[in-house]
Point group: C2
């Protein structure tokens, strides 16, 4: 049994942490506004794969009170990543593996810079879940997680984390770090921003021939950029595949669209600015992604109020 | 004295035609829904440069009833240009000059194809006027018109039309056709679409550093395209000048934004698709303008109802 820490117990952290706790792992959860509620009533996970309730939750309102952990799942929105410098240290040992279950490109590099000695793994969640009331996560569909090794030297530990997820009933796989992050970006970069910019959902963007072509072009910009940056196993066919996959999904609002609707800060930095900066630095020009970022900067509230940490409502890709 | 015909007596046609009529020209106006009202009450022009009322208006509801004219001012929205094939012939003589006071790129070429023998001149209106009630034009600011010769062989007639405008108190000048159309596009292509796509006004786009950069980039795409197409006297400095000019304007909704707000068809074809097609055919790639067009095609009503001809409300650049 390992000691798990969950930083940011919202729709994502509550689901994966909850599944691990139910499977018998020793999981310690950081809460913000839900702390008192969960301390008294426990954590409810309503799930399309089987709902469950955790009566006794190791709940904290402050990481200083949390024990050192073998694995820390960081499930904050990346707009709160500046808080990690203070939040993470109490949980870290020389052997701790930090799994960043977050959106975007470049998060691992930036967290690594804050904690140069720490083993970092990317967690790519394919899930649609929401936290609509205190202490209650609503898992609607999907639910798998892919782990991409960024800087963990210990393969045995990595595989054992993977096994923990599997034993908890979570579909999990090891994937190539760069390839996985960029493949996710092929979907994330077009759909997150375009659903916000045009205030719509995935299906409507694909039904209109003009925006379908635009989504495809944006996907190709991501793919060509990734190829330019040396990412392998990613070619133009992947764009067709993503279009098809999305055609088959129910109408969907990506995480940035939900953030926009709920007046929360949008993850423009890690979903757009950071990868666009990497592209520019490598001499690659992505005009349409650039334009989308600029439009999002216009749409975003001019002085985004940082939401309370751990306070997540619906989350998704 | 010349016989003038005005096709589309809205905010533009009512203003310029009204000024010409007041100065003593013999002007014949095509009306649609305002016909009965104007027949009875005349035409009122409320103008920042001096208001006036025309008691007796040569009003028509059908061009078949109109006399052959020396000059025809076409002031329809370009979304109605398919109607010209039927509307224009009754007014044309072998010597008629048709002035297209319309937005966009390519209108002259397309109308010329319908009427290969007719002398065509571009009218570039720099005006903000609106038609907010029947028989009443509200001219708010600016008001000049530039004429760009497209296919008029008779210089004397062209200059005499110019003089008619001047005598009517309208600031008017002869300009180089290509240069003038493309210079106007440098402003029109960024601002018309962006105010619609982001549902905003010119000043807000320029106050936000991200969209200011984007507007500048879009202007540069138009300028580089024009240069590629052989248009002279247009360089990158013109973009700076347009930004400055717009900074000095009051918050402004371009004509496409007004069309969008009033649920009228937008002039996407002649402001975007047609020039983008010209660029593509010349091997020039304008990714951001292309993206803007695709977003506008999404925002536009899927089956735009053609508004009654001549039924214009506020109009502008």
């Amino acid at each position: 049994m390992k000691k798990y820490g969950v930083i940011g117990t919202g729709a994502i952290g509550g689901y994966y942490g909850g599944k691990l706790a139910r499977s018998g792992q020793d999981v310690h959860f950081l809460f913000h506004s839900d702390y008192d509620y969960v301390k008294e009533h426990g954590l409810q996970v309503d799930s399309c794969d089987g709902s469950f309730h955790l009566d006794q939750v190791n709940a904290y309102s402050n990481t200083a009170d949390m024990p050192p952990c073998d694995v820390v799942l960081v499930c904050l929105k990346t707009t709160n990543n500046h808080l990690l410098k203070e939040l993470l240290p109490p949980l870290l040992t020389p052997n701790t593996v930090v799994v960043l279950i977050q959106n975007g490109i470049g998060v691992e590099a930036d967290v690594q810079q804050m904690f140069p000695e720490t083993a970092i793994v990317a967690g790519l969640a394919f899930i649609c879940s929401a936290k609509t009331e205190p202490g209650r996560v609503n898992h609607q569909f999907y639910g798998s997680i892919n782990l991409g090794n960024y800087s963990c030297q210990d393969d045995v530990r990595l595989h054992s984390i993977l096994d923990d997820f599997k034993n908890a009933g979570v579909e999990a796989a090891l994937v190539s770090y760069d390839e996985a992050r960029w493949k996710k970006a092929v979907w994330n970069m077009p759909f997150n921003g375009m659903t916000v910019a045009l205030n719509t959902q995935t299906n409507k963007l694909l039904q209109n021939p003009s925006t379908r072509r635009l989504i495809h072009d944006l996907m190709l910009e991501v793919i060509h950029a990734a190829q330019h940056l040396g990412v392998s196993n990613l070619d133009e066919l992947f764009a067709e595949k993503m279009l098809q996959t999305t055609d088959e999904m129910t109408p969907y609002s990506p995480s940035m669209k939900l953030d926009y609707e709920f007046h929360r800060p949008m993850e423009i930095h890690y979903i757009y600015s950071r990868p666009l900066e990497m592209m520019r630095n490598a001499g690659f020009h992505a005009p349409k992604l650039e334009m989308l970022e600029e439009m999002l900067r216009f749409v975003a509230p001019s002085s985004p109020s940082q939401p309370p940490q751990g306070e997540e409502k619906p989350s998704g890709w």
